[in-house]
Amino acid sequence: MDRTAAELLATHRIMAVSTVRPDGWPQTTFVGYANDGPDLYFIIFRGSQKFANIAAEPRISIAIGDEPPDMRLARALYAGARASEIEDPRGREEAWKLLKRRHENLVGTPIPDAGNAAIMMARCEHVSVVDYTKGLGHTEEFDLAIRGDRPDVGGR
């Protein structure tokens, strides 16, 4: 994966996740995440609109970035990804370990009850990296999977 993309994914803890509601309206919220390369792990409340949206339409979009002190230092990562729940207990444990490593406040907390919270995995497919340190408006785009090809997600 692109070095800037890998660095942006590794140095942040929250991302904006956009899903599409069945009525076609986009819905965006922040979630805490951890990543293993292009694979993103996050937890959502099973009763949430977001969970229902993903169940009906797994295509999501994520945005990572923060307020730059200077416009010329702005860097952000955007990705189109497909999300699915990790149902396999071992996969859930692995994802939980990654999340605890990234989010210290989770250390010592038992894995959330599967009845309440779903551990999700999304693999970045189409990635855009905005890096104004290379010039205002500088953006690089690349694909991590063949368009239309559903990556092997979940149950790792």
Binding site: S18, P26, G47, A117, V130
Partner: protein, 169 residues
């Protein structure tokens, strides 16, 4: 509650903006904004995918907030809004002035060239106000309509964590 939403808008300058592409895939990007009450202004390139998406479907979703050290300090907004280009000359001027005041760094750049950039506004329809100081997952919902603002209070999604979440040291 409207005041709390406006305060969160004042405490931040950057939002994630989601639109929907023609192929149905959502698209999220980070965008600088300014606001006037609950009305949000931002600038996009006319050549951007985002601009094309909004022209086709004006329904957008915005999220405003920041990373936290103590989960109990989370204050964020998730907004469903209709976005459109600002075409009224007076409003356009005011929007640009508010954006420059909010983002002084933009003064170093060329002013938005109308042929290249579009000044946009997003008018919220539903505003979810997250305030975890009132309990992990605490969210109040404001519905904005011509008749005024209506509030649906307090949904708590604690993901089963309860009070177990701690501060990040």
């Amino acid at each position: 509650m409207e005041q709390k939403a406006v305060e969160i808008l004042e405490q931040n300058r950057l939002m994630a903006l989601a639109t929907v592409r023609a192929d149905g895939w959502p698209q999220a990007t980070m965008v600088s904004y300014a606001h006037e009450g609950l009305l949000i202004y931002f600038v996009v390139s006319r050549h951007s995918q985002k601009f094309a998406n909004i022209q086709k479907d004006d329904r957008v979703s915005l999220v405003i907030g920041r990373d936290f050290h103590d989960p109990a300090t989370i204050k964020a907004l998730s907004i469903a809004a209709h976005a459109s280009e600002v075409t009224d000359a007076g409003q356009h001027k005011r929007a640009v002035a508010l954006l420059l005041e909010r983002h002084p760094g933009l003064r170093k750049l060329e002013p938005p060239e109308p042929g290249h950039s579009a000044v946009m506004r997003a008018y919220p329809e539903i505003v979810t106000v997250l305030d975890y100081s009132k309990g992990f997952g605490h969210a109040d919902v404001l519905t904005v309509s011509p008749g005024g603002i209506e509030m649906t209070p307090a949904r708590d999604d604690d993901w089963g964590f309860g009070a177990q979440l701690r501060e990040v040291s």
